[in-house]
């Protein structure tokens, strides 16, 4: 199919953003949890 590479650039780009978004959600949650535990320890 002509233009397949351009189409795939968009598909993989969207997948990249979705994975990054989910990763950031859990990373930010972990940071908040870590701060809360540090406060408990003090």
């Amino acid at each position: 199919m002509p233009g397949l590479s351009s189409f795939l650039i968009i598909v993989f780009g969207v997948i990249f953003w979705l994975i990054l978004g989910v990763y950031l959600f859990f990373r930010f949650s972990a940071q908040e949890k870590k701060y809360a535990e540090e406060q408990k320890g003090k």
Binding site: M1, P2, G3, L4, S6, F7, I9, I10, G13, V14, F16, W17, L18, L20, G21, V22, L24, F25, F28, S29, Q31, E32, Y35, A36
Partner: protein, 519 residues
């Protein structure tokens, strides 16, 4: 049928305006919805604000003219709000609360101790947002002209009137709640139009074959005749990835969320939405090209024409209403942003600091009327392509504001003079390089010139000017931490007074007045 569905929708929006008006008690409620937006409203309203009538007209028009070269914008738009919320969202929310700021420009003054940055920033916001509002009104007039044969001028005026009424009544709360519903409507109509348009021309393979027959280079990400070289493509990508940081009408969504920690949830809400609407709208030009062939007189209305020709009447009516929703969701935000900038950042700060909340709500509403009227006059003169106006409005704001906002949060070396120089140079360079079409001459998009020169100047000026006071930097540390913000504005007022006294040697009375200029 089409008119009936639209009337139902418009009445619903007006009712939300009336409902919101009952919840407004002070300026903070009118300008920032009292910092009370839940993450799903903040996330989806930010997304729908970022995606205007541009997405239904200019974006398909771009891919109709340039094929897959529009992917640069599509990929940027899919992740643009994600990057904005992840990089500055939580921090800007906390910083604005600590400093008791109602507008992004107010942060510049209080964080950098720089009223001149606030003033020149207001000028940039005013110019850019009037151009942007004009584009939305043109989109309205074009849409009504096409679907119900209403003369362009009447369509422009009707759209302006509806938007004006509910924004005037309900302020930012009405805008956010209507944006939320408009976001849902947009994703529904985009999804079914995408499926219908691709099926009717033979799916992805059928479209690619048809487009290949017209011009094989339309299937390249650089466009026909390499119309979009690397320098321009990357410029488009960066513009789409950064306008959530640099455009105040979008950035303010992050300041109005109920809790800073809810930004992470808002990221997910808007991301799922943007990955559908942000990408699909840029691909619509391809089925339009396959369906009608090359040579449409106005490619920006191609998708609407196709919807009219292939959808059942009811679905077309809902689709057309979805476009109205897209136009309204951005146009209303621009009106409130521009009016709150002029009222809070110019009128209350520099003309009448003693204006109380009641007066400020009234001033806000007057500015809403004035801005809408100005945009209406420009729109009636049928200005250039919607694409040109929107990209210009976003580009000038991103060039001017991205570095100062990043500097306010991340760069402790960023000085008062650097903030001012960065805003001024970024805005001017973008405007000049756009006017002389420097992007075509050099193969490098004006956004890269604007942001690049603005950043270099900010860095250079910071190196040769007095470093910021340590007290101000304590605020940055607090904003970047997870520590609770104990009392609204108490910390900031005290710190600001001390730091400004040390830095500026100006009178305590002036400083107290500034710090006490509370919401």
């Amino acid at each position: 049928m089409v008119i009936g569905v639209m009337i139902v929708y418009l009445i619903a929006m007006l009712l939300i305006g009336v409902w919101s008006s009952r919840k407004i008690h002070d300026q903070k409620d009118f300008v920032l919805a009292g910092r009370s937006l839940p993450p799903w409203v903040a996330g989806l309203s930010q997304a729908s604000t970022a995606f205007s009538g541009y997405m239904f007209m200019a974006a398909p028009g771009l891919s109709y003219r340039l094929g897959y070269a529009a992917s640069w914008f599509a990929l940027g738009d899919a992740g643009g709000n994600l990057t904005a919320m992840a990089i500055v969202g939580r921090r800007i929310r906390r910083l604005s609360e600590i400093l008791n700021c109602l507008t992004p420009l107010e942060i510049f003054e209080k964080r950098f101790n720089s009223p001149e940055s606030r003033l020149v920033g207001a000028l940039v916001v005013g110019v850019a947002n009037i151009a942007y509002t004009t584009a939305q009104m043109v989109a309205f007039g074009t849409l009504f002209e096409l679907i119900i044969n209403l003369p362009f001028a009447y369509g422009v005026m009707l759209g302006a009137f509806i938007k004006l009424i509910y924004t005037f009544l309900g302020g930012y709360l009405a805008v956010s709640v209507t944006d939320f519903f408009q976001a849902i409507m947009m994703v529904v109509v985009v999804t079914y139009m995408f499926v219908a348009s691709y099926l009717v021309v033979g799916g992805i393979t059928g479209i690619h074959n048809a487009v290949y027959a017209i011009d094989p280079e339309l299937l390249s990400i650089f466009g026909p005749g390499k119309a979009v070289p690397w320098g321009v493509g990357i410029g488009w990508l960066i513009l789409a990835l950064t306008y959530g940081i640099g455009a105040p009408h979008i950035a303010i969504r992050q300041m109005s969320i109920d809790k800073a920690e809810n930004i992470k949830s808002a990221i997910l809400y808007q991301l799922g939405w943007a990955c559908i609407v942000g990408v699909v709208c840029y691909l619509f030009g391809l089925p339009v090209l396959a369906y009608y062939g090359a040579g449409l007189e106005n490619p920006e209305i191609g998708m609407i024409m196709m919807a009219r020709d292939i959808l059942p009447l009811f679905l077309f009516a809902v689709f057309a209403t979805g476009i109205v929703a897209a136009i309204m969701s951005t146009g209303d935000s621009l009106l409130t942003m521009c009016s709150s900038t002029l009222s809070r950042d110019v009128y209350q700060r520099f003309i009448n600091p003693k204006a109380d909340d009641r007066k400020m709500i009234m001033v806000n509403r007057i500015f809403i009327l004035v801005i809408a009227l100005l945009a209406l006059i420009f729109a009636l003169s049928k200005p250039p392509l919607i694409f040109t106006l929107v990209v210009f409005a976003l580009g000038v704001q991103v060039s001017a504001f991205v570095w100062p906002i990043l500097g306010a949060i991340y760069f402790k070396w960023f000085t008062r003079q650097a903030a001012f120089a960065s805003i001024l140079s970024g805005g001017l360079v973008y405007i000049i390089t756009t006017i002389i079409d420097f992007g075509t001459t050099t193969g490098i998009d004006p956004i890269l010139w604007g942001m690049g020169i603005s950043g270099i100047i900010a860095f250079g000026v910071s190196k040769i000017t007095q470093p910021p006071n340590a007290k101000l930097l304590e605020i940055v540390d607090l904003a970047n931490s997870y520590a609770p913000i104990v009392e609204d504005s108490a910390y900031s007022n005290q710190t600001l007074i001390e730091s400004k006294a040390i830095n500026e040697k100006i009178s305590w009375a002036t400083l107290s007045a500034l710090a006490n200029c509370k919401a």
